[in-house]
Subunit: 258 residues, 4 copies
C-alpha cells in the first residue's frame, strides 16, 4: 500500500535492531495506550531516534514546561532488550482526518519494513461506558494463528465489531506488507485517564514478549497524562481563536484527539 | 476521466472473460444492492480475484467471526456463466467523501476497461419512506436505447431526480469511457435491510441477463446483513474513540455507510 | 495561478471567435445568474462545445426527462454575434468545497486564455432578505476603469463586502491572468427563483455588450428552473442514501448548491 | 519540511535585506496581531513586494473602497531600518483548513530562507474571556535561550497550553528550518478589536528589536479594522449564497477568520 507521502520523518539515528517488535501507544480513549507505552519508554530507557510530523496533526504548537514551543509530533524510541529488541511509538496526537490516518499508518509500517519489524502491537481501550471492577484485556490480530494463542495469555478474543483509528489501521495496513499485527484492548469506562487499564495490557504484553519491567510507577504517570489531556482539550475548544485560551470551554464535538 | 489514483487494487488473478458484464452491489440504503450481489456471489459461486482498498474508506479494521481483523475493502468476483460471464462487486463500505467517490468510480471503470466489460449494472434502493406492499423496480441508464427497453422488463423508467453515491457515479463515469450503465432501483422503505427489494431487482436482472439462479435463500442472507449493518453503525458512533464500543449510541448523522 | 488540475474538460469543437467575451451563469442564490445565461443560450442559439466535469461536483447523476442519466457538469456554449462573439457558461452545480472552487475558477480562466477571452461577466444575486419592488443592479469589477463607467449603465457600484463562490473567484483568478472581470448582481429576496432579477441584469448586460435579444420568455424559464432546483435540493437531503428519494425532506444545511 | 505547494506567490521585487527579521500579523482573535503589523507597515513605510494567494483562503473576492474586487491575499512588505531590516506580513485571512495552515506556514518559512530571515516574530492574542485592566504580554519561543530572556523584556513566559493556527505553525515549521521563532501574545478579552493589546505587544517588540516608531495613531486604526471584520463576518454568514449580503446574520460557527 503506497500513498502520496506528505508525512515528514526526521531521523536522528537509524538503530540496528535484532528481531525488533513495534509497540504503539498513541493518544486515544482513556489514554490507555499512550500511558502504557510512555511507561515502557521510561522503564526500558527508550532512546528517541525519529520524529514524525504531519500536516494532518492538529495545527498548533504545544508549549513545554520549559516555556519552549514545538509542533505536535509522534516519536519513535528503541530499546535493546532480551529476548528481542523493541521499537516504541508514542506521540502528542493522531491525524485529524480519516484519509490522513491511512497515510500515517502507511508511513509507520514503511518505517517498520526498514527496521525489520515483523510484529506490531497496538495498545488500545475497550470502552464499556460504565465503571467496572474487572480489568479484562481483549484482543484481535491480522493472523489467525495469533488469535488461537489468545486464551493462553488470558486475552478475550473479539469476534465482531471493529477497531477504528490508528490502532486498527496500523495493523490493517501492516497486513498488506506481511507484518503481523496484534491489537490489545484494555477494558475501561472511557471517562478518565485509566492507569489500571494500561497496567492490565502491559501485564499481558509483558507475558507475550517474555519481557519484565516495573509497573508500580504507572499510577503517577496517569496524573501527568491527565494534565496533558486537559491542555489539549482546552486548545481544541479554542481551535479557531488562533491562540491559547486556558479558560475556554472545550468543544467536545471537535474530538481531534481520538 | 482520469484522477490521481490513491486507490489500491490487489489482484490475485486476472481472469479471461467472454463478453463480461459488471454487477455492483455496494452497501447503501436498505442494503438492497449489497444483499442482492452477495446472493449472486453465493449462488453463482463467484471467485474472488481482486481486493480494492482506499484511504477514503472508513478508517477502521473490521473484526471477522474468526477473531481476525482486516481493512475495509471492496472485492471483485468473477463467474463463468451462460450466456455471458459476470464480474460481481461487493464490499464493506463506500468511500466517505464526495471526491473519493468519483475517484473510486474512476478506478472501478478502469478495471472494467481492462476486463473488457461493456455494460455495468448498479443495484440500488428506491426509498419511499413508507412501508409498501408493492415491490416495483425503477431504472435509469446512460443509454437512451436501454431506457426504451425498460417496459419490456417491467422496469419503471425514472424521468427526474438523481442517483447519488457510487451507484450513480459508476454509470456516469463509465459513460465517459463508452461503457453502458444501467441502474436498477428496488422499491423499499429505507428503514430495514430489505430482502424483498433485493429479490425483485434480482428477478429483473435475471431476465435482462437471461441468466437463472435460485432466489429462495435470500431472506436468510438479510439476517446476516442486518448483523453487519448493526456492527458498522455502532462503530461509526464510536468513530473518535479509536476503539470498538458495541454499546455506544451510534451518531446517525455520521452516515459513513450510504 | 496554476493548480493541480483534476477538472476534466471534454471539448467537442474548439470554436474560432472574434474578440469573445465570457458570460457566466452558474447555479446560485435565486438562480438569478443561471436563469439569465440559460435564457441567453436559448435566444442567441448558443452552440455547446465543451463539458466540464469535476470530482468536486455533487457525487450524483442527474436523470434527464428522457430517462437517461448523466454526471453533473458545466457546459460552455459559443454564439457568433455582433458586435462581439460570446462564450456562455451554464451548469448543474458549483463545486462543493472552497478549494475546488478555486480550482474550477482556474480551469475556466485557462479556457478563456485559449479562446482569447479578454473580459468576463459573472451574473449573480444581490440578496436583500426581503421582497422589494425595485430591481436594482449592483456591480463590481477587477478594473477601476470599468467601475468608473458603472453609473453610465445604471449600475450601483459596491464599495464594501465581498462576492463569495464562483462569481467572485472567476473574476479574481482572471485578474491574475490579465483578464478583466465584471460581476453584475441583481437585487433579489433570495427566497425564490427570481426571473425579474435575471431580466434586470440581462437588460444591463445587453446595454454593456451593445447586443439585443428578446427578454419576454424569461418568466416561463423561471418555472423550469424552479423544478430543477426542487429536484436537486431533494437529492441533497437524501445525500447519504445513495439513491433518489423525491419525498425526502431536504437537509437545508447541506447547501451543496450555492 | 516540504509539502506539495499549491500556494501562489506573486513577487514584484525581491529586496536585498541586511539581517532581516520577519514580523507576522495575520487576522486572528481580537485582530491584535494584524492591527499591530498594519500599524508598523504605515509608520515604517513598508514597501509591498509579494502577494500570497491560496485556494485555502475563503473562496471570495473582497470589494475595496474604490469599488474594485480582488482575491483574498496575504502581503509581504519590507522596511529598511536600523539596527536591522524588517519583513512584515499582513493579510485578509488565514487558510480555512488545518492542512492548508501547515502548507502556508511552509511557504512563508521558505520565503524567509530566501530572504535570509533568521528570526520570526508572530503577534497574537492571549484571550482571557473577560475585560481586564491590565495589558500583559505573554510569550513562547522555539529557542530556550530566548525564553530565558523574556523577563528582561517584561514578557510572561507560558509554560503550558498551545498556540493554534498560523501564529503557532509558522514558528513550529520554522524551527525545522533552523529559524528561531518567537510568539508574543497580548492580553485581550477576545470580544473586540483591541488596539490596547496591539499597542502593548508593539511596545515589547519595539524594545526587543531596539527600534522606535510612533504608537499614537493605533487607536484610529482599530476603527478601520473593526469595519473590515464586520464585512468579512457578514460574508461568512452568507457563505453559501455565492453573493454578498450585508444584512445576513453571520453564522458564528463558520469561523473562517481565526
Amino acid at each position: 500500500m503506497s500513498l502520496s507521502n506528505r508525512v515528514i520523518v526526521e531521523i536522528t539515528e537509524m538503530p540496528k535492531l535484532k528481531n525488533p517488535q513495534l509497540v504503539c501507544g498513541l493518544p486515544g480513549s482513556g489514554y490507555v495506550g499512550k500511558l502504557a507505552v510512555d511507561h515502557m519508554i521510561e522503564e526500558l530507557k527508550g532512546v528517541p531516534f525519529a520524529n514524525i510530523f504531519s500536516p494532518s496533526f492538529p495545527p498548533q504548537v504545544l508549549i513545554q514546561s520549559d516555556g519552549t514551543a514545538d509542533l505536535m509530533k509522534n516519536t519513535l524510541y528503541y530499546c535493546k532488550s532480551k529476548p528481542c529488541d523493541l521499537v516504541l511509538l508514542s506521540g502528542d496526537a493522531q491525524p485529524v482526518s480519516p484519509e490522513s490516518e491511512y497515510e500515517m499508518a502507511d508511513e509507520i509500517t514503511r518505517i517498520c519494513e526498514k527496521l525489520g519489524v515483523k510484529t506490531i502491537y497496538t495498545l488500545a481501550a475497550y470502552i464499556t461506558g460504565t465503571f467496572t471492577k474487572t480489568q479484562k484485556v481483549y484482543g484481535t490480530s491480522t493472523s489467525a494463528e495469533i488469535v488461537k494463542e489468545f486464551p493462553k495469555h488470558d486475552i478475550l478474543p473479539m469476534n465482531s465489531g471493529s477497531i477504528t483509528g490508528m490502532n486498527g489501521l496500523i495493523i490493517g495496513v501492516g497486513k498488506r506488507k506481511n507484518i503481523t499485527g496484534i491489537c490489545l484492548l484494555g477494558e475501561t469506562s472511557g471517562y478518565v485517564v485509566d492507569a489500571k487499564a494500561s497496567k492490565s495490557i502491559l501485564e499481558t504484553l509483558s507475558k507475550m514478549l517474555d519481557l519484565k519491567f516495573d509497573l508500580s510507577g504507572i499510577a503517577k504517570k496517569a496524573k501527568d497524562t491527565e494534565q496533558l489531556v486537559k491542555t489539549i482539550e482546552e486548545q481544541m475548544g479554542a481551535r479557531h481563536s488562533a491562540e491559547s485560551l486556558p479558560m475556554t470551554q472545550p468543544d467536545k464535538k471537535l474530538g481531534y484527539i481520538s
